[in-house]
């Protein structure tokens, strides 16, 4: 098997088993979320993302998004607040 493909698969495996995500906030115009499990809600003023252990709620205006790499997203727009919520689904399990 190609070494690059093997490395890519290994990175994916690492990501699926990881227990935390990184969030990088730059001013109020750009947020970089590393390892986003899924998108729960996507609207012009609200984006809710499912992370490894929690749910993050980004509230702002004119929000737009771009994904890069494996499960990494960048959010642009005028950001007002970022809230964290416990992942109730995980607690129930």
């Amino acid at each position: 098997m190609n070494v690059n493909k093997l490395a890519k698969k290994f990175e994916k495996l690492k990501n699926t088993t990881r227990q935390h995500s990184f969030i990088y906030i730059s001013d109020n115009s750009y947020v970089d979320v590393e390892y986003c499990h899924s998108i729960i809600k996507f609207e012009n003023e609200l984006i809710i993302l499912q992370l490894a252990k929690s749910i993050v709620k980004i509230i702002g205006f004119n929000l737009s998004m771009k994904n890069y790499g494996y499960r990494n997203v960048k959010i642009y727009g005028k950001i007002y607040s970022i809230q964290f919520e416990e992942d109730t689904a995980e607690e129930n399990v």
Binding site: C36, F42, K66, N67, Y68, R71
Partner: protein
């Protein structure tokens, strides 16, 4: 930093996703590593940009999630050119232009000569022409090195020549030999004439000076023949520039040797051929029969040209046949008569080259047969002009 999508970059598509489970749709795409750019939402419609190659997958995923997809904009050179797909002229025109440039760059269009003073440009153009370099010549049909070697051997005035090709232009740069400064002593400077050979003086014509030897006298190398020191009854001794013509009979012995056992270069019976089809100066090698030539072999190459015949009639098409002859070296033991013939040839070659300016009176040959070869000893008696000028050094000058 936001990516800019232009109509000259890679192909991208901006689409609108209407209705259905849009968040789920996005999550599936992100999980499957599909790159989406500028994802935004407005009036319950999702808008994003995706690579054109990923669009098929996105369309399928959208159907699974109950989403209707509409293309709103296309970016990239591919889509820009796609609208011109029926305008063949736009494609054929640039291609023809490139083809014309490529074809024309295969010919010589200009020859420039520099560095010549005494040599005329016509001489150098004709040299280039002999080597196959002329305006309109195919650039792969000549070797600039050959032209340089030919120039150095044919034109005696040259001390250096460089033939370079830059694109379709040939630059011939030359450096001429500086005129050889004759070491003749100027007429106003007093000098003697001394002998430069051993021999016997046959005749002497003195223009200026005093002859120091008589006709029939034996002379040796370096001996004073015409003196520039003259006794003038009024002024005493004066020094003049001696001049005259002196003819002497000289003897010289030369030896030529050749062994019986010699190495001879013998062509092998089998020859290899390569064929080329000619179009003017172009030659295209036939792919069918190409001989394998080893660099280690001693090979000579020659070419034959001919017209291609159809039903016995010559067509304008020509062919070129390259003939490779392989040689092998072998030791040959020659007979005595053959070696003597070879020695006679060497002797006549020597006479042509080195006794050109003399009159050969007699040549007495003596053949000595040795164990391994034959030695030819020739004693020449020649009549030659002798005498070289020597400056008179005056102490009281």
């Amino acid at each position: 930093m936001k990516k800019k999508f232009t109509s000259y970059g890679p192909a991208h598509i901006r689409f609108r996703a209407i209705g259905g489970y849009q968040e789920k749709f996005l999550s599936v795409l992100i999980q499957n590593d599909i790159q989406l750019y500028e994802i935004s939402e407005k009036d319950n419609e999702l808008s994003a940009v995706v690579k054109a190659s990923d669009y098929t997958y996105i369309a399928r995923t959208a159907v699974k999630n109950g989403i209707r997809i509409r293309i709103s904009e296309k970016y990239g050179l591919y889509f820009r050119l796609y609208s011109y797909r029926r305008r063949w002229g736009l494609v054929v025109g640039p291609m023809c232009c490139i083809a014309v440039i490529l074809i024309l760059s295969q010919f010589v269009w200009d020859i420039r000569v520099s560095g010549n003073n005494n040599l005329s440009k016509a001489q150098l153009y004709s040299l280039a022409d002999e080597c196959g370099i002329y305006p309109g010549a195919y650039v792969h049909n000549f070797y600039t090195n050959d032209c340089e070697c030919k120039g150095m051997s044919d034109i005696k005035l040259l001390s250096w020549i460089s033939v370079e090709r830059e694109g379709s232009r040939i630059y011939i740069k030359v450096k001429e030999k500086e005129p050889v400064k004759t070491e003749e002593i100027p007429a106003e400077i007093p000098c003697n004439i001394v002998s430069d050979y051993d021999g016997q003086l046959i005749s002497a014509t003195v223009k200026r000076g005093v002859l120091q030897v008589n006709t029939g006298d034996g002379i040796r190398k370096g001996q004073l023949l015409i003196s520039g020191t003259v006794d003038n009854s009024n002024d005493g001794v004066i020094h003049i520039h001696a001049e005259g013509e002196l003819l002497a009979r000289c003897q010289q012995t030369e030896e030529f040797y050749l062994p019986f056992k010699q190495e001879k270069r013998k062509p092998l019976a089998e020859e290899k051929y390569s064929y080329y089809l000619m179009f003017g100066d172009f030659s295209f090698k036939s792919p069918l029969r190409n001989p394998e030539i080893s660099d280690e072999d001693d090979i000579s190459y020659r070419e034959e040209y001919g017209f291609i015949k159809v039903l016995g009639i010559n067509t304008p098409l020509r062919y070129k046949k390259g003939i490779y002859t392989t040689y092998e070296k072998e030791q040959v033991v020659y007979r005595q008569e053959d070696v003597i013939k070879q020695l006679q040839k060497e002797k006549s070659g020597f006479e042509d080259n080195f006794l050109q300016d003399c009159t050969v009176v007699s040549a007495v040959s003596e053949t000595i047969v040795e164990e391994e070869g034959i030695r030819l000893r020739v004693t020449y008696t020649v009549d030659r002009n002798i005498g070289k000028k020597q400056k008179i050094s005056l102490i009281y000058e």
